[in-house]
């Protein structure tokens, strides 16, 4: 725990490498490949160091704490790594490294002379600031790192700022993130008033819960939930994630959302006895997020927006787990804590594997077929077999097919929910959360069936799709690496369980210090004692083996037989055309009529011709617009924009007018202080 621990030096060095990775590229020759290779190398090296350091903390228990003197108000800068931080650090280092390699092929300097350097610079900064957020233990440092992260994400996501929709999504994101940060400022100030300092460290037994701590909790839910994309604060997410370059989407969706969840976990962990409604609220928001995200994902026509809404669903699942763990804390049920938080943390890890895989795969599709509109794709599996297979694995993992990654984490969350409403002093909310997650899972199944079926199966619906091609090695290797991880990560969950247990203990530790009576009487049981992870993993491996055997036999038979290749889904027609297939819209129409509420149904946007010689007219493809954004936030925002428009008259752009303002203020101040001298007694 000493200041100059090797773990701390390793981790801070790793962060510095990642943060500075974009710098050499800024001075390198424009259009040359030296800068981008060096930058990918630096991110990779930093990530390797960072992963080693995180594993030391997570599995060997080598926590550390560093105190740096600071000229800023708010005390010294505290940095500390406990297993909880370390668990979240794993995706923070892993995904950006793979994304950086992917970026060499996806956004090469040679083809993007205008913005590739800017993108690389902010990409490195984004990854490094996320790591600092995870380590910061003083409010001031946390907020600084948080803001750097938010702004770096803004600049990275708006790389294609020439497109109006990317700019619009960027503005919405910027407003949303700053509204959230405002909440966090309030939270930090309130917290500092309670603890008497900006250090986020709880006294023995945790902070006492008072009326102001409920305000702290609500502000944390708004601020951190906004960053995590939790319903109803998710409205910025699909646009920003959809419009960003794919490897940035992968980092934002796969990692940055988790940093929001981490913040919520960290702040809540400071309190000794959280009231039951905290956990209840998180259960509700989590279940709502899962349902809402899945329903809107099903209505999307854009590959990346669909994936972004699916992230909202997955954040919902994680939040449900966190809510259950909080309920367990207030009810004194350590096994709820273990299952809820264990499932949540596993899902954080696994989602940060399969969602980047899907986003990188979607990037490969955009790269190969030149469009993100599902209704213009089709038949890609034949043209991009490797990407297609990896994408299928990602979809299956997102749908929690055993034995892939998502299955294990969701299983643990479900088991926790079952235990919470089956046993004595059961929780009614948990009884509602489990079916809500199940329904969300069913809708997500429909959404991903649509995504994979329309984009990869069938015949191409456009010329671009029929000329699609497999991406280059720089893009393919990260995709295949993630696919491999997705396949084995679930099977490795018995090995990951000790790390997750350590993180759960670290989360509980401020309130119930290890060695205290409470900790001895009601220890948080290890995950493996509650769920037979080992057996399930063995069964899963057997299942995979069987599948491989079956596939091998099939391949053997096919080699002997003569195989005729024809159009997919020709249904016996003599001359099938691509227009006879299902489209994404027609399939989605079937879903949104039956499985999801009407508010989430896709609508057509019609721009009618106007006048005798109309300039333009268009009918967009049907797309589901966020009801929250469309019905609530947009009218609200435009009403205020109209009000503020009148103020614009004050800002004339003429220097003289501004000087008059200064003069007026000066005279008013002088007059006020003169009058005060007369009116008030000296």
């Amino acid at each position: 725990m000493e200041a100059a621990s090797p773990g701390g030096v390793l981790l801070l060095g790793a962060i510095a490498l990642v943060a500075l990775s974009g710098l050499p590229g800024l001075i390198a020759r424009k259009g040359g490949s030296g800068g981008e290779r060096l930058s990918a190398l630096l991110v990779g090296a930093g990530a390797l160091l960072g992963l080693v350091a995180s594993a030391r903390v997570l599995f060997l228990g080598r926590s550390f704490r560093v105190e740096l003197p600071s000229p800023l108000p708010g005390g010294p800068l505290l940095l500390a790594a406990d297993p909880l931080s370390a668990l979240f650090l794993v995706p923070v280092f892993l995904v950006p490294a793979l994304g950086a390699v992917y970026g060499l092929g996806y956004w090469p300097e040679a083809e993007h002379r205008r913005d590739a350097r800017k993108l690389r610079f902010f990409y490195g900064l984004l990854a490094a600031s996320m790591a600092v957020v995870l380590l910061a233990r003083s409010g001031v440092l946390f907020l600084v790192a948080w803001e750097v992260m938010a702004l770096a994400a803004f600049f990275a996501a708006t790389t294609e700022d020439r497109q109006p929709e990317v700019r619009e999504a960027g503005w919405i994101y910027l407003v949303a993130t700053h509204a959230g940060t405002l909440g966090l400022f309030g939270m930090t100030a309130l917290l500092a008033r309670t603890t008497g300092g900006f250090a986020w460290e709880a006294p023995e037994g945790g902070l006492a819960v008072t009326a102001s701590s409920s305000v702290v909790f609500l502000l944390a839910v708004v601020g951190f939930g906004g960053k995590a994309g939790l319903f109803p604060f998710h409205f910025w997410l699909p646009g920003a994630h959809g419009g960003a370059p794919s490897h940035v989407s992968a980092v934002m969706s796969g990692v940055m959302l988790k940093v929001g969840l981490y913040g919520l976990l960290r702040v809540v962990s400071l309190y000794g006895a959280p009231p039951a409604w905290w956990g209840g609220l998180l259960l509700l928001l989590g279940a709502g997020s899962a349902l809402f995200g899945a329903a809107l994902a099903a209505g999307q026509g854009d590959v990346k927006r669909l994936l972004a809404y699916s992230s909202v669903e997955n954040v919902g699942i994680v939040t449900t787990g966190i809510g259950l763990a909080l309920l367990g804390r207030s009810a004194g049920r350590p096994e709820w804590v273990a299952l809820g938080l264990g499932g949540a943390l596993l899902h954080v890890l696994y989602h940060s594997l399969f969602k980047p895989l899907l986003f990188l795969g979607a990037g490969a599709v955009i790269h190969g077929a030149g469009t993100r509109e599902m209704d213009r794709l089709g038949g890609l599996l034949r043209r991009m077999p490797r990407t297609g297979a990896a994408f299928a694995a990602g979809c299956a993992a997102a749908l929690a097919f055993p034995p892939l990654a998502g299955f294990f984490s969701e299983l643990v969350v479900y088991l926790g929910l079952f235990r919470a409403f089956a046993g004595p002093d059961s929780s009614l909310l948990a009884a509602f959360a489990a079916p809500a997650l199940a329904v969300a899972g069913a809708v997500a199944l429909a959404a991903f069936t649509k995504l994979f079926g329309v984009a990869f199966l069938g015949s191409p619906r456009s010329d671009e799709a029929s000329h699609a091609h497999e991406p280059g090695r720089a893009m393919l290797v990260p995709i295949l690496a993630l696919a491999l991880l997705v396949a084995v990560a679930g099977l490795l969950s018995p090995l990951l369980a000790p790390g997750v247990d350590a993180a759960i203990r670290a989360w509980v530790a401020p309130a119930v210090p290890p060695g205290s009576v409470e900790a001895l009487l009601h220890p948080v049981p290890p995950l493996a004692s509650l769920v037979p992870l080992g057996t399930i993993a063995l069964l899963g491996a057997a299942l995979l083996g069987l599948l491989a055997l079956f596939a091998g036999l099939l391949a053997l038979r096919l080699r002997r037989a003569s195989v005729a290749r024809g159009a997919t889904w020709d249904c016996g027609y003599a001359r099938p055309t691509a227009r006879m297939q299902y489209t994404g819209s027609s399939f989605g129409d079937w879903i949104s009529g039956r499985l999801t509420p009407a508010a989430a149904a896709p609508v057509l946007e019609v721009r009618r011709p106007e006048g005798s010689f109309p300039r333009s007219a268009a009918v967009s493809a049907p797309r589901a617009r966020d009801p929250l954004l469309r019905r609530l936030l947009e009218p609200f925002a435009s009403r205020w924009a109209r009000r503020f428009h009148d103020l614009h008259a004050l800002q004339e752009g003429r220097l003289t007018i501004y000087l008059v303002y200064v003069l007026g203020t000066l005279v008013a101040l002088l007059a006020w202080s003169a009058l005060r001298g007369w009116v008030l007694p000296r």
Partner: protein
């Protein structure tokens, strides 16, 4: 009113009126130059001790505000062939009236300030505030860029008078820095004025609002 400092300051205030009341650019510049020269004498009078520091400030101020800057401005005026300020935003008589009101307010206000006893009887603070306000008036009511530079100069003169209250507390370096700042500022403005004329063939700052965001 018998103190020599006060006589000097009354002259400075009168010069404010001169600058505000005349349409001739040459008179405006000369008025500001004279005001600067008078102010250069101020440190010598406020401080009884005749140290090298005070003398250096006086000489530097006189050289800059009395000679160098007015010279620059007159050269700019000749270069751009403008002699008169026509059609200011606020006419000459109303601006004189405003200046009078401002001066009265300044005197009233400074009566209420808790000043050090050695400054309480003098006109230092009222003159400073009145000059500040007149500078602001020139800056805001005139259209020609040269007049605005003069306004800036007068504004700075007001600040300079106020600085006399603090001359013992203020390091020499700060005053030297302020003077240098002023000089560089006006130097740059002189160059900018020339370029504005070349680009837009007018010095009406009103037309510059085309450049706003």
């Amino acid at each position: 009113m018998t103190h020599p400092v006060d006589i000097l300051l009354v002259l400075v205030i009168l010069l404010n009126f001169l600058v505000l009341g005349t349409p001739s650019l040459r008179m405006t510049i000369r008025g500001a130059a004279l005001q600067g020269t008078l102010l250069a004498l101020l440190p010598l009078l406020v401080h009884r001790g005749f140290g090298w520091r005070v003398a250096a400030i006086a000489v530097a101020t006189m050289a800059l505000k009395g000679l160098l800057i007015p010279g620059l401005l007159e050269k700019a005026m000749r270069d751009v062939h403008i002699r008169r300020e026509v059609e200011p935003y606020v006419g000459f008589v109303p601006s004189l009236f405003l200046c009078a009101v401002g001066t009265a307010l300044a005197i009233l206000f400074s009566g209420n300030l808790p000043l050090a006893p050695e400054h309480a009887g003098t006109l230092l603070v009222p003159a400073s505030l009145a000059t500040l306000l007149s500078g602001f008036l020139v800056l805001t009511t005139r259209k020609k860029a040269i007049s605005q530079v003069v306004g800036y100069l007068i504004l700075e003169n007001g600040i300079f008078i106020f600085g006399q209250l603090l001359i013992e507390a203020m390091p020499f370096l700060v005053e030297a820095g302020v003077l240098l700042d002023l000089f560089v500022g006006i130097f740059i403005m002189g160059i900018v004025i020339n370029h504005i004329r070349q680009e837009f063939s007018s010095l009406d700052t009103e037309l510059l609002s085309e450049l706003k965001d």
